[in-house]
Every structure is written in structure tokens, then in C-alpha cells.
């Protein structure tokens, strides 16, 4: 015989978890597609899996190289990530960091990762600076 208690608690559990089952499709973040494939084989500048797990290290390394040594290679440049990955919505506007539609925050929101990159860096693609003529 099932006791009253068991029945009630089972019912309660189902009720409680119902919303979760209903949203099962949305459990993974929807990450916007990049505009291009940096490399036809690896799909990004490196293997996508490697990028997913280690992008912060590449960015951090590049950050110091650029800041301290003036090394301005494109491969791990944050600006290049933004240019390729942050895309316009239907109205032709770029998403901002923090929106679920923004490439970075689409996943960071989901994983509850806090970063301060965009306190200073632009979170949207912009036209790069035109470099002055060479006068020495």
C-alpha cells in the first residue's frame, strides 16, 4: 500500500519540477553563430573545443603581450573575436554584453561567469583606426 505521505510527496515533486521539464530544450545556452570560419578545419582560430575551454587564457596572454610589448597579432585579439562573433540582430543592431544575444554573455550568463573586459573594451565591432602615414 502506498502511504498518503508518499503520494503527496511524489505529486509535489512532479509539480515542482514540471517547469524544468517543460524548458528542457532551453537548458543549454544558444550561442550566436560566427560570421566566418577563421580556419576551415578547426572552425575557429583554434579547435573549437580548445577555444571553449581555454579562450580566457589565450586572451589573457595576448592582453599582456599587446599591452606591455606592443605585439599586435590578430589571432588571439579580443577585437577580432568581437568582430567575428558579435552579430547584428534583425533590426540591424549589435547586442550588448549582458544580453543573451551577445556572443560572450550568451554563455557567460548561463555559466554565471563575471568578467570585466567590457568595462573598458567595446563589446561591439567597430571600424578600426586608420593608421597614419609613415614619417620618420
Amino acid at each position: 500500500m502506498l502511504s498518503h505521505k508518499t503520494i503527496i510527496s511524489t505529486l509535489l515533486s512532479i509539480l515542482l519540477f514540471l517547469p524544468v521539464f517543460a524548458q528542457a530544450d532551453n537548458l543549454m545556452p544558444t550561442v550566436p553563430k560566427a560570421k566566418a570560419k577563421a580556419n576551415p578545419e578547426t572552425l575557429c582560430v583554434r579547435d573549437v573545443k580548445v577555444m571553449r575551454t581555454n579562450h580566457m587564457e589565450f586572451l589573457m596572454h595576448q592582453r599582456d603581450e599587446t599591452m606591455r610589448k606592443g605585439i599586435r597579432t590578430k589571432k588571439d585579439s579580443l577585437a577580432e573575436c568581437i568582430t567575428c562573433h558579435v552579430s547584428k540582430d534583425d533590426e540591424g543592431k549589435f547586442a550588448s554584453y549582458g544580453d543573451d544575444e551577445h556572443f560572450c554573455s550568451s554563455c557567460h550568463n548561463y555559466a554565471a561567469v563575471k568578467i570585466d573586459c567590457f568595462d573598458c573594451h567595446n563589446d561591439k565591432p567597430t571600424a578600426a583606426s586608420k593608421t597614419g602615414s609613415t614619417v620618420k
Binding site: R63, E65, M67, R68, K69, G70, I71, R72, T73, K74, A79, D116, D119, C120, H121, N122, T126, A128, S129, T131, G132, S133, T134, V135, K136
Partner: protein, 259 residues
């Protein structure tokens, strides 16, 4: 009042010399001017680090600097996204807004002679801002350009207290729409970067470009360590004075015609 530009005594140099012994110094001495010239005639490859081979500097001829002209200031704002250009710095009072470069007009107390000049970070060889910064966020690149690493700046403003030229600004509010190469953000300190992003691509600072475009040609940019550069030749010929030379900072920005 003319001081020779002392290009030999960067701290990194000192450190290296201690590290490598006398050979490094001797090698530096042995470099013929011609060799140096060929080396910098090529653009620096993007993956090459800046080095003590160069020391970037500016020479400002105040006789050519036109009173009332603010082309350099505007160009800097456009290039680096501050001032009028960046609409997001709106809540700050005038005295709280960032100023990377400013024009000042001077009048001699005795002769009444009036002149104007741009004032900006002097890219000191012995920068007080770097000396006092507790976190190492203020630093000098090997090539003499002084920058703030905003990734580690804690916003203590000690560097602003130490800078003799009031060259630095603190950001008092949230900033948006930054230029790609000029990140700026609330709670950190910033100043003139000598357009490092352009210099790294073999370009010249936006202010110099604008001054030339206006036809004033009051600013020279170039390598102080290259005796064949226009700036070095001009300095050798007509001299260039440091602001607050008494502080012995060996500034990378020099002025002519302050009298």
C-alpha cells in the same frame, strides 16, 4: 635652456647592463648610426616586441603652434574616443572629464609675450607615475612610451598625485562606445598613449598628423635614439627644452621656443 636628450640611461638599460655585464653597453655603443637606420626603416612585424632600440619622442615648436588652433586636441579625441567625441562621459562635471591633451596659452609676466602650446603626457624616462603606482599598472614600455595597464589599475590615483604635468585623468563614470585600440573604463586612470597602436604599425600619433595637415608643422614625432631621424636632427640643431627640467625626468616630449 637646453638639455641633451639622454637616451642611454633607461632603467631597463641599466638592468640589462647589470645583467649582461659590460658587453651590452659596448654593443650599444658599437652600433653604427647607419645600422640603426636600416633597422627601423622597416615596419615592426606585428609579432615583434617593442625594444629599447627605439625611444619615441615628440618635439613641439611653440613658435609654429598657432594660437586658437585645437587641431591636435580634436584629432586625439577622434582617434581615442574621449571628450566631445564620446557621448557617454556625460554625467561627469567639466573638471571630472578626461583630458589627454590640452592647449594652454601663456603670457610672459615680464615681456608680455604670448604663446600657445599643447600639453600632454611627457612620457618621462623616469616617470614618477610609474614609481609610485602600487600595482605596476603604470608602466613604461621598452621604447619609452608610458601607459596605464587598465587591467590591473585599482584606481587609487596616486599616479595622478605624482605626475608633475597633470597629464592623467581618472574616469568618473561608465564609458561606452570606446575605440577598439583605446579601451577606457570607469574607475581607472588614463593618459596620452603616444598613439602606441599607430606607432606599433609604423605610424605617427594622430595629433602630429593633424598638426601637419593644418599646415602648422609644429610637432615632430620620431626616434630619439636614431640620430638620423628628423626629430633628433632638429633637436641637435635647435635644442629642445623639458618642462620642469629641474625634476630631472628626461622627458620624451620636448619644447622649443618657450621664452
Amino acid at each position: 635652456m637646453t638639455q641633451p636628450v639622454n637616451t642611454n640611461e633607461t632603467k631597463t638599460d641599466l638592468y640589462r647592463r647589470q645583467f649582461l655585464g659590460k658587453t651590452a653597453a659596448a654593443a650599444g655603443f658599437a652600433l653604427a648610426p647607419g645600422m640603426l637606420l636600416t633597422e627601423i626603416a622597416h615596419a615592426k612585424p606585428a609579432d615583434e616586441a617593442v625594444s629599447t632600440k627605439n625611444r619615441w619622442g615628440l618635439l613641439i615648436n611653440t613658435n609654429k603652434c598657432a594660437s586658437g588652433c585645437t587641431a591636435c586636441v580634436t584629432a586625439c579625441q577622434v582617434e581615442n574616443g574621449w571628450g566631445e567625441i564620446n557621448k557617454s562621459e556625460e554625467l561627469s562635471r567639466a573638471s571630472q572629464k578626461a583630458v589627454w591633451i590640452r592647449k594652454v596659452k601663456l603670457k610672459d609676466k615680464q615681456t608680455g609675450h604670448v604663446q600657445s602650446l599643447p600639453l600632454l603626457c611627457q612620457h618621462c624616462e623616469k616617470p614618477p607615475c610609474v614609481d609610485v603606482c602600487p600595482t605596476g599598472a603604470s608602466f613604461k614600455r621598452e621604447d619609452g612610451i608610458v601607459l596605464v595597464d587598465k587591467h590591473i589599475c585599482i584606481g587609487c590615483r596616486y599616479c595622478m598625485m605624482a605626475c608633475p604635468y597633470k597629464a592623467r585623468s581618472f574616469i568618473h563614470e561608465t564609458i561606452k562606445n570606446q575605440k577598439v585600440h583605446a579601451p577606457r573604463g570607469k574607475g581607472t586612470v588614463e593618459s596620452c598613449t603616444m598613439c602606441a597602436h599607430r606607432v606599433d604599425n609604423d605610424g605617427i600619433p594622430a595629433c602630429v598628423e593633424a598638426c601637419n595637415a593644418e599646415g602648422h608643422q609644429a610637432m615632430y614625432f620620431g626616434d630619439l635614439k636614431d640620430s638620423n631621424s628628423v626629430i633628433s636632427k632638429e633637436l641637435a640643431k635647435n635644442g629642445g627644452q623639458q618642462l620642469r627640467a629641474d625634476l630631472d625626468l628626461n622627458t620624451g616630449v620636448r619644447y622649443q621656443g618657450i621664452k
